[in-house]
């Protein structure tokens, strides 16, 4: 009956030295719609794709302000992400109370990652099912981190997570060397361009995109709805003029899509969600942690 007897419990190592439950939690990140992060020397930008589960409902928020110098974008089980967000806000607030200064991004991310690790080592817990892109600007400059359910975190120049993020990643990998010197508008545009690569049906509109940005002298700002229109308009112009860029990324997105179906995932779960992208950020039975 069981294909794999080592994947039932977070506290079980497989004979190969792997943790299947943790790997499955990483798959949960891919169930959510895409989130993109990228940085220049002066700014860090996050962009997320928001999907509503029906015409009648709103979408779930995926971009959050944590503090003036720090924001996050997430993909996966958003309720897990919100509880992490609350933790991060709390830590930032405490640090501000005690030191009257912003909490350095890297140190906060390490704390969050340590918290995530604990959930991979206790039988009564489950790992977080959410990936966080953390953008911050502090004494060390602009920072972009990816924090994943396993408790690992990575310091990136640009990164994309979530469903069909491989396409966005391909775009970023091709362009990220230009980002360092880019100005804010260009950076946002690159972010949106990358994000559009992970859209299969329809296009980016002010209703399905959120952007967060932070930088030197710029406190964390969320761009939504009307604020996005100039950027989306500029993006449309760009695509009209130079279709090769995004078109290429789209193709690769289609090719890479299959790769995101996890070989190790339990039957049903991922396949079903991929086929019906509507309730993406609401995986079955999210638990309170």
């Amino acid at each position: 009956m069981f294909r794999n007897q080592y994947d039932q419990d977070v506290t079980t190592w497989s004979p190969q030295g792997r943790m299947h439950q943790v790997e499955y939690a990483m798959e949960a990140v891919k169930q959510g719609s895409a989130a993109v992060g990228l940085k220049s020397d002066t700014h860090v930008v996050l962009a997320t794709l928001n999907r509503a589960s029906s015409e009648l409902s709103s979408h779930q928020r995926k971009t959050f302000k944590v503090d003036d110098h720090l924001g996050i974008a997430m993909s996966g089980i958003i309720s897990d992400g919100r509880s992490l967000c609350r933790y991060m806000r709390n830590e930032c607030l405490n640090h501000r109370y005690v030191f009257e200064a912003p909490l350095p991004t890297a140190r906060l991310v390490r704390q969050v990652a340590d918290r995530a690790q604990v959930c991979t080592q206790r039988s009564w817990k489950r790992p977080y099912g959410v990936g966080l892109l953390v953008a911050g600007f502090d004494k060390a400059g602009g920072k972009l981190f990816y924090c994943c359910p396993s408790g690992s975190y990575y310091d990136y120049k640009a990164m994309a997570i979530g469903a069909r993020s491989q396409a966005a990643k391909t775009y970023l990998e091709r362009k990220f060397e230009e980002f360092a010197s880019a100005d804010l508008d260009t950076l946002i545009r690159h972010g949106l361009q990358a994000l559009s690569a992970s859209v299969t049906d329809g296009e980016l509109t002010k209703d399905n995109v959120s952007v967060a940005l932070v930088g030197k002298g710029t406190p964390l700002t969320l761009l939504e709805d009307a604020d996005l229109e100039p950027h989306l308009a500029a993006l449309a112009d760009e695509v009209g003029g130079d279709g090769a860029g995004s078109g290429g990324a789209m193709e690769e997105g289609g090719g890479a899509d299959g790769a995101s179906a996890p070989p190790a995932a339990p039957d049903g779960a991922s396949g079903a969600a991929e086929a019906a992208p509507a309730p993406e950020d609401e995986p079955p039975a999210p638990m309170e942690t």
Partner: protein, 248 residues
């Protein structure tokens, strides 16, 4: 692995009929699959070196740290699951702080190694937890001089003159055994470690090297090896490797 499929290898708190705890063996597997970590005790200090595969070109250089200071006089390099490693590092920091608060002095190496081993061992005892998938190389410079300890997922802790864990451990250990550790200083030591890490890294995949030391040159404080020295060691290691390839 005779444990597979017998059901004796599913829980941390289960012995197999021949007296093994398979879960700790499997955790050790996670260490054996990771990048190589090397530690040597030279005549004036300890050098730790880590081989870090680069998983993405968009990663910031020098990130994904594997060697951490836990106090001024002590540091840890971890092999295996990085997230697990950080917990062990955190515990080491806590132990160092609490020892200092209680006794007013820096924690001695053997005490720290002992306490860390006990901590790691704790996770190999109960059904509700899994053993850490991390081996830690602990470098300390205290009143007894420079010391190197290895703490394994089972909670075993040993003191070493030189050792290696991770993928390339066998070859690395052979190389270390050839060194006359009592005769070389840490300045030479970093070159040897760099050479070993480059020689055991056989794949074409890109990797980054992280070097840390604690010796007279670092003011008896656990520090990353200064960038210029590390770069020089790396160049020298590559040159040596190219030479030996020529001879082959």
């Amino acid at each position: 692995m005779s444990g597979i499929g017998t059901g004796y290898d599913l829980s941390t708190s289960t012995f197999s009929p021949d007296g093994r705890v398979f879960q700790t063996d499997y955790a050790q597997k996670a260490v054996d699959n990771s990048g190589t970590v090397v530690g040597i005790v030279c005549n004036d200090g300890v050098v730790l070196g880590v081989e870090k595969p680069i998983v993405s070109k968009m990663l910031v250089e020098g990130s994904n740290r594997r060697a951490y200071a836990v106090d001024r006089h002590a540091g840890v390099a971890v092999a295996g699951v990085a997230a697990d490693g950080r917990q062990i590092v955190n515990r080491a920091v806590q132990e160092a702080v609490s020892y200092k608060n209680l006794y007013g002095d820096a924690i001695p190496g053997r005490v720290l190694a002992d306490r860390l081993a006990s901590y790691v061992h704790l996770f190999s005892l109960y059904w509700y937890s899994r053993p850490y998938g991390t081996a830690s190389l602990l470098a300390v410079y205290d009143d007894d001089g420079p010391q190197l300890y290895l703490i394994e997922p089972s909670g075993a802790g040993h003191r070493f003159f030189g050792t290696a864990v991770g993928k390339g451990r066998q070859a690395a250990k052979t190389e270390i055994e050839r060194l006359k550790l009592h005769e070389i200083s840490c300045e030479q030591g970093i070159n040897e470690v760099a050479k070993i890490l480059h020689s055991v890294h056989d794949e074409e995949k890109p990797f980054e090297m992280e070097l840390a030391w604690i010796c007279e040159a670092s003011g008896r404080e656990f520090k990353r090896v200064p960038a210029e020295l590390a770069a020089a060691a790396e160049r020298q290691a590559k040159a040596a490797l190219a030479d030996s390839d020529m001879e082959d």
